[in-house]
Every structure is written in structure tokens, then in C-alpha cells.
Symmetry: C2
Subunit: 473 residues, 2 copies
């Protein structure tokens, strides 16, 4: 599949990275001589952050090319994304060129934050609004507005690259999210202008309070809870009347004078100027990866989107030692020490994921556990053999060393590209009746599959060392 | 220290929990016959969630009492918090009673979301606005407004219970954060009323996009990044003009009719009605704990507040086996399986924290590492002996089994209240020159402290089993 990016700034570059890392080829057209460098920097950020959301490998990266003409970029494209500056005449010109040169069945998306499809298509284009949020490679939301068939097709593609399409029922200036952002922005400008709060204080007022709520539930679900046991109706009864109180200055718009720009830019320098934009981007991305990985635990909001995308990624295969691959993942930034290496604590998380996969392979899966039987880990030994760097891809292979009766004995190797494993993990599990909490032998298909794996793996190179299950010293 | 809660609803109960779990005694006065049950339920949520943010133990919980009169509640109180309904005449009456009965030097805080101190104190009270955010036991933000001396004293107390006081420069209706919330709320009501989006769609527009950004950076720092390399000034130049575009309906206020209430309550039921309020609260809290623990990794925003509070909590002491306590923490909800037990992966995280503390005790701390020397873990063996439940408090003791030359051999026991450990972790570390990446012997104070611990621990009960460092089989 091929995507064409018309415009390669922060947004176009973010789109390019999202498509590339999901296996699409990407062609960029942007007359800016700096476009290639800029897209490259966004892509470097994305490579560092996005793959670490998943506990399966993303597909091999697509090819990235930069084109001299728009026509060359859109040739044969399945998706064309327009991300040029927010001027309607310019968008009209670009969309007319796209219409003339792109395949008839290509989705044509516009990153516009303000214009409606009826405005974009006033001169005969068939674009849909596909409005993303920065950083495009990590935030899943895309607002889709336009023709029902076109937005439906666009939504399917967006889900395929791990995004969350929100199809609007009706077109409206600035769609949905930016109406909220604009409302907050106006109020914030007044607060700064009137000397009530600095930019830094406003940011603290957001991220120390309601920002934490909005990362996982939105406005209405949060307020439903605030209503306590009586729920939404009680909340509305309690806070509805406040609407007419003088809690806003939004009836008016602050004038955008040089003084106001100087005030805001100066306060922002004082607040954040000790970090470069690149450092801020990486801090933001590290935090987003941490938050998204926290949300994937509960499947809430964007965490649910990550899990759904992960289930579509292939798994399996055979590792360099001829054993089955039970995990393939990129080291997420949240696994990393201040010194840039993988901290030792997440090694067990990696190994446990591999054991979980082996459990699925032998049929001791969620249904089996729901039926009252499971494997419990009795002991695990990890050897840290060489350092693992940030961004490394870990491939775990699993050898079933023993599976007699109630015991299951596994040996995982963590491969990161070298000739020998970067770590090994030996683990001894016991088969347990969840009702009595007693150790019992497995039967049926599980016992058979374990025996088959033991036999199949016996002919492969033996573990470098086994120390569990021996008599104590 | 004693705090008096006047009003024991969701907010008063949240304050009570925050104070109690930080070791304060709390007296509640609320004429509602259901107050004791309601506060108890908030407290149960808080006990489950708050302690898991820290990797040290919070102080022993204070005593909670319910009083028949306001006078009894405020007697001897160091902090009095008013959280009664948002009616100025009621607040005046309550504050007058508080002024008459509370100690002269007590801080008097009001949870009001809308009133200014000049309004609250119009009849001679000396209250400050101390406006928190739900859930009060997890979100750190408290907006403080009022007399500089009083808010300064209040801020110190709030930091002591792990909160983030934001002192406003000037009083203003609805303070800062609620001005934003109100702006978003108005815009959301229009979108629902006009049939542009449902409550569920609005929540997705928030939590799939900008909500994820706002959990860690606020509005201005986010936009500074969006400006790309040119920063804030470029962003302002680009988006300033949009201010006059028709991106809002906020020039007007929707009428709060029965139809609008029915529409919103009905959509909210369809969106969230499959979960009880209690289930939603726990999901919210689990997500907040996960997000806050993700943010403590980078020290950003609320994660920095958690770390700063943690550093004030005592550590050390001796465990049931006579060995030094190297970690004392409550199992966070984010460590827990769907079955309510601690998942095996975080065991290593717990043990690594204990090893880190032992490193500090022998002087191999951050300064030592900055000087070019450190211990690297070569191998770790964990035995899982009994299940650990959600909410359990884990006390880790550490025995220094060996410390000859370049090796350091540790044995951790994880205690959860029983007569024997719930888990043990044996770990073998090597002393490394970070420049050459080679194993070298430690010298000076570190070697002496290791030797002293080996000698001191030799007389204590030996580890139940040691298997590392033996010849391979």
C-alpha cells in the first residue's frame, strides 16, 4: 500500500511516520527544501516511541521517498493526505491537482483543523476531513468528516494503522476537539492577559488535575462519577445552574496584540526554555508511551485501541536457535534507565509475556483458566548476559525442557541480534486446580501438546545452563 | 495533627481520606445520616489506590470520627475544611460557626469551586479557598486563593499530604481550572443539543487525543512543541488569527431545559450505564494509578509530586528476620492480575527497588555511579512461595550473603504478614567500571560497608536456599 503526503511539516511528517511504521510505502511532496530533514526528525521520534506500545512486532517498515512534483507523489497512491497551511485558496489549488493526478479510488484526506468538507470540495474535489492530533504517530484520534461511503472506507484504513477514527454526524467549523481546545485557549489568553496566571501556572492547573482524568475518561463519564451514586442526572441538577454565572470571559475575544504575544512567549520561555523542542518532544513521547502502556492494562480509551491493533499483528515463527518465537517486541522507552539501557526489572515482564504465549500454544489459555485449571510459576531464574539498548528489538524463543506430570520447565532466550542471547530465563511452573489451590497433573490436550513440544525441542541445542529443580545446597 | 471536615460528600470524603492516609486524625461533621457510609466508601477506594503510588510506606492511618456537632468536630483542629453545598448564605453560616469554635491558628479552607475569598469572608471569616479535584485522594491539584500568609501556611500543609498547591495571584470567579472546565462544558452542551455529537463521542474526542497530552504537559507547553523548532512565537503567529473565526458558540449559553437534561442523561446511560458508579470509580482510579506511576518514571507533572512526597516518607527499620528493611510498599492496583493477585512480572520490580536501597546503604549511590563505578546484576532467582493479594503491604528485608572481591550476593525476603516470606529473591551482582565496562573490585568505603554487612548478617538465620554461583550442571 502507498500513501502520498502533500505537505511534510509536523503533521505531514507524523502521518508519514504512522503509515511507514505500519508497513506502507510513503511518498512526500513538499516544496520546502527542509522537508526531508524535518520528516526525518519526526520519523526518528516515531521509531523510538510507537513500536514500544505493542508486545508484538509491527510489520517491516515501508519505503520513504521524496518527490519533486505532486503528481509523482500521488501516482498509484491508495491514500493521499493533504497537510498544507490552513488557507482555503491553497487547499483548493492542491486538491484540484490531487484530483487530476491521483487514482480514482484513492482516499483523499485533509488534515484541516477548521474547514468543512463542503468548503474543501466547493470546486469539485472529493476530499474527506481526516484531522489528526500531534504527535500523529502516538495519539490515535482522527476526526473524519464527509461523505458516508468515503469516511467509512477511510475509517477502515485508519484502524489498520492503529488509529481511532471518529466519524462526525454533521460537518461543523473546527469539528469537535478543536472547539474545546479553542474554548480553553481563549480563556487561557484572558487569564494571561489579565495577569491572573502565567502560562506555567495554567499548565499546572491542567496537568495536576483534570488533565489526568481526561487521559482515560472524557468529560461526561467523569461527571457521571462526580454525581456520585445518583449519577448524571444529579450532577446536572447540581451544576446546571452555574452556566449562567459569570465564570467566563468567553463572551469576548482578546485582541491579539504584540504585547500579548510578547507576554505569552516570554512566560513560555521562562517555563520551558531550559529544554530544547527536541528534548520536550522526547519527554512528551516518553510520557505518552508510559500513559498508553498504563491504559493498555485496563483496555481503557487509547489503551483499548493499542490492544485491538496488536491483535491484528502476526506472531509466531522460528528463532535463530530453531525454537518457536514466543515474543517479539521493541524495548519501550518506559523500560529504559536514565543511562539508555533496559532496566533489569522489565526483563521478567518480557519473559512472562513469552510464558503467556507458550501457555496459549499448549492450550492453557483464558478459556482453560476460566475452566478452573492453570499454571502457576514456582521459580524463575534470569541471567543478564549483555546490555539491551533503547529501541532494540527483543525476540524471545522458548524451549520446553520438561513437562512430566505436574511440572512444566521452560527456558527462554532473549535475542537482540547477536550470535548469543542477551539474556536467558529459566522458569518452573506447576499445574494448579484453581478451586482447591492444589497442584494436580494436567490431562487431555494440554498434556499431549506439552509432551509433543518436549519431544520436538529435545533434539535442539540444550539450554546453556539449567539450575532449577536441583536439590538445594 | 487533626483535620475537621464540615461536609462529608464525595469532596469532603476525599479530603478525609487524603488526610487520614497521611497520618492525620479526622473528625467529620455532616447532618446527612448517610455521611458515615459515604465517607467509608470513598475511604475504601482511597486505601486501595493511594498507597500504591509510593515505594515507601505512608505513615500509620489516623483515627476517623463522626461528630454530632460542628463545634465538636473543629475542637483542637489544625485544619478545618468546609465542603458544604455551593450556596453563599450556607457557607457564611458555616464559616461563622467555624470561626466561633475552631482554634485561632487553624487553617480554614473552603472547597468552593466558584466563590472568591472576598465573598466567603464578607461577614468576617478568615477562610482561604482550597479547591481540590475529584478524586481528592489521587489528584494533587489544590487551588489556593486568599491572604498571602494564610495560603502560604496552607500550601505547606498540603505539600505534607502529597498535594500540589497552586497559589493564585488574584482572586477570580471560579479560580483557574474551573474556568476551563466550564468553557468546555458549555461547548459540549451545544454539541449535544445541536445533534453534532453524543456524550460518548465527545468523551472519545477528548481521551483519544488532547486528554493524553494534558495528563503530562498543559496547554502552553504542548503548543510550544506544536510550533516546532520555531517554538511559541511561531505557534502564535500561525494560530492567533483563528481566534476571530466562528469556532465556538460560546458567545451564548444553551438553555438548561428538561429536554436537554433528558438528552444528556439518556446518552450517558447508553455510554456508561453498563457499569455501576462504583465500578467506574475503580476503573478511573486504576487508570489514574497507572498514569501516575508512569509519570513518576520521568518526574513529570503529578509524577514529580509523588516523588517529592515519597522522599519525605521515612524508610529503614528491621524486619521480622532481624535484617534491614530495604523496601516497604503497598501492592499498587497496576501490579494486579485480573484475578486480584499480584502478577509475577512486578516481583522483580519490587526486588530491584530493594537492591537499589541496599546500594544506597553501602554507598554505591547516584554520586558513586556518576563517578564511574556501579554494580550490574548478573543473575537473579525468584521463588514464588505464596500468592500476594491486591492491597497487601510488602516489606522486603535484605541479607548480604557474600561480598568478596568483585561479587555481591544478596538474598531478599518479601514479607506480607505471615510467618514465612511470600517470596524470596536471590541476586548476584558484579562491580563494574563504567568506562571500560569491565568487572573490577570495589575499594574504600563501599568495600568496608559491604564487609561490615556480611559480618553483621552472618549471625542471622541463613537463607532458606541459595542456588546462584554454584557450578553449572
Amino acid at each position: 500500500m502507498k500513501a502520498a503526503m502533500i505537505g511534510g511539516g509536523v503533521i505531514g511528517g507524523g502521518w508519514a511516520a504512522r503509515f511507514l511504521l505500519n508497513g506502507w510505502d510513503v511518498a512526500v511532496f513538499d516544496p520546502d527544501p527542509e522537508a526531508e530533514r524535518k520528516v526525518g526528525e519526526v520519523l526518528a521520534n516515531a521509531r523510538r516511541a510507537l513500536p514500544g506500545l505493542y508486545e508484538r512486532a509491527l510489520p517491516p517498515e515501508g519505503r520513504l521517498g521524496f518527490c519533486d512534483t505532486l503528481e509523482e507523489a500521488v501516482e498509484g497512491a491508495d491514500w493521499v493526505q493533504e497537510s498544507v497551511p490552513e488557507r482555503l485558496d491553497l487547499k483548493h489549488r492542491v486538491l484540484a491537482q490531487v484530483m487530476a493526478a491521483a487514482p480514482e479510488d484513492a482516499v483523499i484526506g485533509s488534515s484541516t483543523s477548521g474547514f468543512k468538507p463542503s468548503e474543501l470540495n466547493a470546486q469539485g474535489a472529493r476530499a474527506v476531513v481526516a484531522h489528526p492530533f500531534n504527535p500523529v504517530y502516538l495519539l490515535p484520534l482522527v476526526e473524519l468528516v464527509g461523505d458516508a461511503d468515503l469516511t467509512g472506507r477511510a475509517a477502515e484504513t485508519l484502524r489498520g494503522i492503529g488509529m481511532f477514527p471518529l466519524i462526525l454526524r454533521r460537518e461543523i467549523d473546527a469539528h469537535i476537539a478543536d472547539r474545546f481546545l479553542e474554548a480553553v485557549w481563549r480563556e487561557a489568553l484572558w487569564l494571561v492577559k489579565d495577569g491572573i496566571a502565567t502560562t506555567g501556572e495554567i499548565d499546572e492547573a491542567i496537568r495536576m488535575g483534570f488533565g489526568l482524568r481526561w487521559a482515560q475518561m472524557g468529560l461526561f463519564e467523569t461527571y457521571r462519577i462526580a454525581g456520585g451514586e445518583a449519577g448524571m442526572r444529579h450532577f446536572l441538577a447540581q451544576f446546571g445552574p452555574c452556566l449562567t454565572w459569570p465564570w467566563t470571559k468567553l463572551m469576548d475575544v482578546p485582541e491579539f496584540t504584540d504585547e500579548l504575544v510578547d507576554l505569552i512567549a516570554g512566560q513560555s520561555d521562562a517555563q520551558s526554555g531550559h529544554r530544547t523542542i527536541r528534548e520536550l518532544e522526547r519527554l512528551r513521547d516518553d510520557n505518552l508511551v508510559g500513559i498508553l502502556r498504563a491504559l493498555r492494562r485496563t483496555g481503557s480509551g487509547a489503551g483499548g485501541v493499542v490492544l485491538a491493533h496488536e491483535r491484528t499483528l502476526p506472531q509466531g515463527g522460528t528463532g535463530p536457535d530453531g525454537l518457536p518465537v514466543t515474543l517479539e517486541m521493541q524495548v519501550p522507552t518506559s523500560f529504559v534507565d536514565y543511562n539508555g539501557h533496559m532496566n533489569e526489572a522489565p526483563y521478567l515482564e518480557v519473559g512472562v509475556r513469552a510464558s503467556d504465549r507458550l501457555m496459549e500454544m499448549i492450550g492453557a489459555d483464558a478459556d482453560y483458566i476460566a475452566g478452573g485449571l492453570s499454571y502457576f510459576t514456582a521459580e524463575t531464574d534470569i541471567r543478564f548476559l549483555s546490555e539491551i539498548d533503547i529501541g532494540a528489538r527483543i525476540t524471545v524463543t522458548t524451549q520446553v525442557v520438561g513437562g512430566d506430570g505436574r511440572k512444566l520447565h521452560l527456558f527462554h532466550r532473549f535475542w537482540t541480534g547477536g550470535e548469543s542471547p542477551a539474556a536467558t530465563m529459566e522458569t518452573l511452573l506447576l499445574h494448579v486446580d484453581l478451586g482447591t489451590r492444589r497442584v494436580v497433573a494436567p490431562g487431555g490436550a494440554v498434556a499431549e501438546r506439552v509432551a509433543a513440544l518436549v519431544a520436538a525441542h529435545a533434539g535442539l541445542p540444550a539450554p546453556e545452563r539449567l539450575i532449577l529443580g536441583r536439590p538445594a545446597s
